[in-house]
Amino acid sequence: MSVVENKEQETLEFVRDTISQIGLTRADLIPILQTITNKFGYISQVAIREVAALLKLPTKEISSVATFYRMLSTEPRGKHLIQFCESAPCHVVGGRQVLHKLKEILDLEPGQSSADNKWTLITTSCLGVCGIGPVILIDTDLYGNVQPDQVKSILSRYE
Amino acid sequence: MPVIKSLDELKRIREEALRKQELKSTSGKTEIVVGMGTVGIAAGARETLKAILDFVDHNHLENIIIRQTGNIGIDSFEPVVQVILPGTEKVTYGRVNAEVAKMIMEEHVVKRNIVNDYKVEG
């Protein structure tokens, strides 16, 4: 099997497995899509079609839900997801300078992924840890009280 | 803990939980420290400790914490007992056998009179 076909097969199996664990009803849709996003970094067309088939819903319903929520993605994401809090409390304590530094070092605008597929940078709304702003979330690691000159060393921790 | 089947059972669990919470706080209580190092034990500290425990039990004393410690460095004065009433300075007693222990409990802990005869300075 080619690499593409392998990936497809892996996706299909994972989707079926996930649905058998979570459930088949409409109310289970978002948890299913979240699980798929966590595993592959995004929800591919293959996955969307399979979910639609198993839940007996039109594919456009699946797509419309998948594109609505920020934590679900239908576009491939880089290996590491950087979420930068762009909300007011982080903004007023120097968030702007940190974001500027991030954009500069990564050479990315929010919403973009790096050419080598290592990083995806997105801005997120308040993560609720405003006491230690500015805040960066990389995958599941939360960094608080971030200064612009710390950005480089934080990023260098990731392969 | 098993399933709580009634309000009464809940109340009992609350009592027990409160007791455990109590353990964690030492403020406002009288502390009695008994030296239980090798020298202390050789000098009879275990009997001293027992006497203190019996006294507390018999007289239903409340808010007492009894701790033990190792050698505090005044071997010739063992068994050593220290009494710290809430908000006061520590008082160290030496050569405290079971009888003396009872007296210290009665005089110092209950009546708040330091027993100078057995008090060790410094």
């Binding site: 300078q97 599941t140 | 039990d57 007492i64 190792g70």
Partner: protein
């Protein structure tokens, strides 16, 4: 009663049991009997001690408070000999009990009254026993065995509890509607989708006192007649989700959730549903759509959730903080609760102080306290003792309140009159170095991004508002802009379906009202008074203070600064991107912003 000189608490949480906690307890008791210590040392089981250990089990000896971990049953004889007979700590197994300094929740300051926050930092949220020690589930016991559902509703009505999610609707009334609605199947929902930037009160309650919310929900379910409940928690709060999951498990294991609670014929169970990163899902109808598996788009009300909610059934939905107040009201009574606060707003409210204030973090104060007291007495005043400029309340749909209104006693009505909202309780304090136009633009960026897109006035209107504000901040503001901002804001407010659209223009409207001079300076003078808007400021190096140390030049990300060592440096205005880094690193105050 035997007086014990020592008590040993052994953790019997599932991890420790797996590692042999019960064998340990048996061996400990045997050894204590053997050494004649059984009357002096008491051994008790507890659900949890400190953080779960990788190896276990763990135990703590009181009154010393010595904590041991990684013990096995064959270590016991030595432990007994060393610790209980010789009075020495067995060092190789002694562990430190972590003392965490809480930066978000300090000790209560004067003027604070902690009701909702009372247990946070005091109890271990992963140990249900701690909750029991602080009257946990006693309110539930009282409600289920001594009160009828109608009496519970009446108590909440008498207390005049208002929804803490922002709208402030009387909770008792909401419950009554749900109770009176037709139908056998009813649902209860807790809105834990706290998305307001700057608000993290709900998060702390979910993480620090989860059972207070669970207990409040069970009481509410009893009152309205629901058998199934959901806690909708945003995905950005993973610790809250895991703590709540554990708390639900523990409550279920003890029969406080499930069938026949406390031996009555009332049954109720709870499930957690997670959000997926959409701010609008904090709106109740959008939230229900999300649980149902659809796009989180709000719908028109009526019908209200109390009549037609989740899957078309009567549903009561309340905020985390609202539920957290319920057990205390049932235990202490409506009169106690309504003795705090103002005429129309009873009880206390948590606020999250953020921004340029000295003591940031969570506070809880009775309604009626003034903004002045909150910012200066509880908050400690402005950071760096700078001048106060404005305080923004209620989240991104709230307005900015200027200095002249600081003596406002805080309650739902007064904040509304001042052009703002209570919202969930976020309070962002801004000092003199804040540009109010930039702030309005900033909040509009947020609401524009989070608009679900359903209503044209909101979707297109907020986009247009943002465009105009961005132009003004870039020095391209036009004379007509102020009038257009006002007109648009009015349209959006009047024609949007949900609270997001209706509130989105508030920051714009309130800053236009109180800080018109700043808008005018931006538009007519192309000047930003607070020296924030990049296009309108210039960074210059002053000849006098500059020592030519080259620090600024070396840190400039675009190499816009040139100069010889020991000679005054110069910034090339064509290249300068106004990031402000030179200003930050200069030790001699030689960089002027104009």
């Amino acid at each position: 009663m035997t007086f014990y000189r020592s008590t040993v608490l052994v953790s019997v949480d599932p991890i420790c049991v797996e590692k042999g906690a019960y064998e340990l307890i048996d061996t400990l008791n045997d050894e204590l009997i053997k050494q004649g210590l059984i009357d002096e040392v008491q051994v008790l089981e507890t659900t949890r001690l400190g953080d779960p250990t990788k190896f276990g089990p763990d135990l703590t000896v009181y009154p010393e408070g010595t904590h041991y971990t990684n013990l096995t049953y064959y270590d016991i004889p030595r432990l007994v000999e060393e610790h209980f007979i010789k009075g020495r700590v067995l060092k190789q197994y002694a562990a430190k009990m972590m003392d965490n300094i809480d930066e978000e929740l300090r000790a209560p300051r004067s003027k604070e009254i902690r009701v909702v926050l009372r247990n946070i930092g005091v109890i271990d949220p992963r140990n249900i026993e701690d909750y029991f020690a602080y009257d946990g589930y006693m309110a539930l016991g009282k409600a289920l065995t001594e009160m009828t559902p109608e009496e519970v509703i009446q108590e909440i009505l008498d207390a005049k509890l208002r929804g803490r999610g922002g709208a402030g609707f009387p909770t008792g009334l909401k419950w009554r509607f749900a109770r009176q609605a037709q139908g056998d199947i009813k649902y209860l929902i807790c809105n834990a989708d706290e998305g307001d930037p700057g608000a993290f009160m709900n998060r702390r309650v979910l993480e620090g006192d989860p059972h207070s919310v669970i207990e409040g929900m069970i009481i509410a379910a009893y009152a309205i007649g629901a058998r199934q409940g959901y806690i909708y928690c945003r995905a950005e709060y993973p610790i809250a989700v895991s703590t709540m999951t554990l708390a639900i498990k523990q409550a279920r294991a003890l029969g406080l959730l499930g069938k026949n609670i406390l031996g009555t014929n009332f049954s109720f169970d709870l499930e957690i549903r997670m959000g997926a990163g959409a701010f609008v899902c904090g709106e109740e109808t959008a939230l229900m759509a999300s649980i149902e598996g659809s796009r989180g788009e709000p719908r028109a009300r009526p019908p209200f959730p109390a009549n037609k909610g989740l899957w078309g059934k009567p549903t009561n939905i309340n905020n985390v903080e609202t539920y957290a107040n319920v057990p205390q009201i049932i235990l202490k009574g409506a009169e106690w609760f309504s003795s705090m606060g103002t005429e129309k707003s009873k009880g206390t409210k948590t606020f999250a102080l953020a921004g340029d204030v000295k003591n940031t973090g969570l506070i809880e104060v009775p309604f009626g306290i003034t903004l002045q007291e909150i910012i200066y007495d509880v908050g400690g005043g402005i950071k760096g003792d700078k001048k106060f400029k404005a305080v923004q309340t209620g989240g991104p749909m709230g307005g900015c309140i200027p200095e002249k209104l600081l003596n406002l006693p805080v309650d739902y009505e007064t904040l509304g009159q001042a052009g703002s909202i209570m919202g969930s309780g976020g309070m962002i304090v801004m000092d003199e170095d804040t540009c109010m136009v930039d702030i309005a633009r900033f909040f509009m960026e947020f609401t524009q991004d989070e608009s679900c897109g359903k209503c044209v006035p909101c979707r297109v209107g907020t986009h247009r508002l943002l465009e105009i504000l961005e132009a003004i901040c870039n020095g391209e503001g036009k004379q007509e802009d102020i009038a257009e901002l006002r007109e648009l804001s009015d349209q959006i407010k009047k024609n949007s379906l949900c609270g997001l659209g209706q509130g989105a223009p508030n920051p714009v409207v309130s800053t236009l009202e109180h800080f018109l001079d700043e808008y005018e300076a931006h538009i007519y003078e192309k000047r930003c008074p607070a020296k924030v808007c990049r296009s309108l400021i210039k960074f210059e190096i002053l000849d006098g203070p500059c020592t030519g140390c080259t620090v600024c030049a070396r840190n400039c990300p675009v190499n816009a600064i040139s100069g010889e060592r020991k000679a005054t440096h110069v910034i090339n205005q064509d290249i300068c991107i106004k990031c402000g880094i030179c200003h930050q690193v200069c030790q001699f105050d030689a960089i002027k912003i104009s």
